[in-house]
């Protein structure tokens, strides 16, 4: 049986200190190859300072039909945001 090898998700950190952001996927047979392929494909133009690769099979994604159940309940919790609170006139921000 032919194979294009396993699928890996690639996360690139642009600058040290920043987030690793998902940027695409590569095919590779092992983690060393996945890392090298990610480097050769996604950082050709100085896009990276660090790379994570994760086998796609280990990514668990939330389901679209659950979106309302998962995310809508946060809509009305506006007290979690600083702008909810009234600052007395003249008080300075910390």
């Amino acid at each position: 049986m032919d194979t294009q090898l396993a699928l890996w998700e690639v996360f690139i950190q642009k600058k040290s200190g920043g987030d690793h952001t998902h940027c695409g996927s590569v095919h590779a047979s092992d983690s060393a190859m996945a890392l090298q392929n990610a480097r050769d494909i996604y950082t050709r133009r100085n896009e990276g300072s660090s790379i994570w690769v994760i086998p796609s099979q280990f990514v668990t994604a939330s389901k679209a039909e659950d979106a309302d159940m998962l995310f809508d309940p946060a809509d009305d919790k506006i007290y979690r945001h600083p702008t909810f609170y009234v600052m007395p006139e003249g008080a300075k921000q910390i």
């Binding site: 032919d2 194979t3 294009q4 590569v26 133009r45 679209a64």
Partner: protein
Amino acid sequence: MNTTLDIHSFQEKLDKDYNIEPKDVMPDDYRKHLIRQISQHAHSEVIGMQPEGNWISRAPSLRAKQILLAKIQDEGGHGLYLYSACETLGISRDELIEQLHEGKAKYSNIFNYPSLTWADIGAIGWLVDGAAIVNQVSLQRTSFGPYARAMVRICKEESFHQRQGYEIMATMMNGTKEQREMAQDAMNRWWWPSLMMFGPHDSDSPHSGKAFEWKIKLKSNDELRQKFIDKTVQQAEVIGLTIPDAQLKWNEDKQGYDHGEINWDEFKRVINGNGPCNKQRMDHHKKYHAEGAWVREAAAAYAETISKI
């Protein structure tokens, strides 16, 4: 699951110009249309490596050699981004390649023409990539998220491709008599096939209806073709190249060029497999895919033994 409701929310997303994401519920025809379009796009990038690859070993300077190699590598990278986008729809790259080899999936007709002289490398970069980018810019806002994101990345990377092609043409038009003739000859051979890249006239375009409704396609074939012509004619004039179309004329009313009729018989003939290089391109792809099989097997077998995954 209430399917009607899902389609409704799919439609709602489209209406609000939200991206459709892989895990979203989507009509089966939408998925099929996307797989066909994205894989055709991916195959085009990959097959497109061949006519340009034909000149890597003969590039006339170290600078030109590096630029050409980096450019063809980009095409491969773009093929890869697009395969990735397609894979999110639940089809493997294996299957996509199989469809290509069985002739079920197509690639852009333009790559069935040969690259005969160095000027062809200029013409491909300038005209073929120029045409491709007009199309790709409009696809950055296509409705399927992974496709749109791949397009954004591709457009960013491709911006140098068209320029380097134009630079080659400009340098040659500035050079010896032989070079100018070579450049004009390449122009003559690549102009019409480039116009064909946008596909049939809107009135004859069989797949466009649904593609517009689903916001996969945002601009029509003729609109995009017109945009390309208007942009390119001026660039040709600046460097002294003649567009091989006696009927080409500025139309003051539409603020664009009118052009002669495209040879649709040739278009159909090449699409149906009788272009100068159809067989050569497919044979090349099949050959190296087959020759790579033992390498892929070895890598997979080694991974089993170390079970790093």
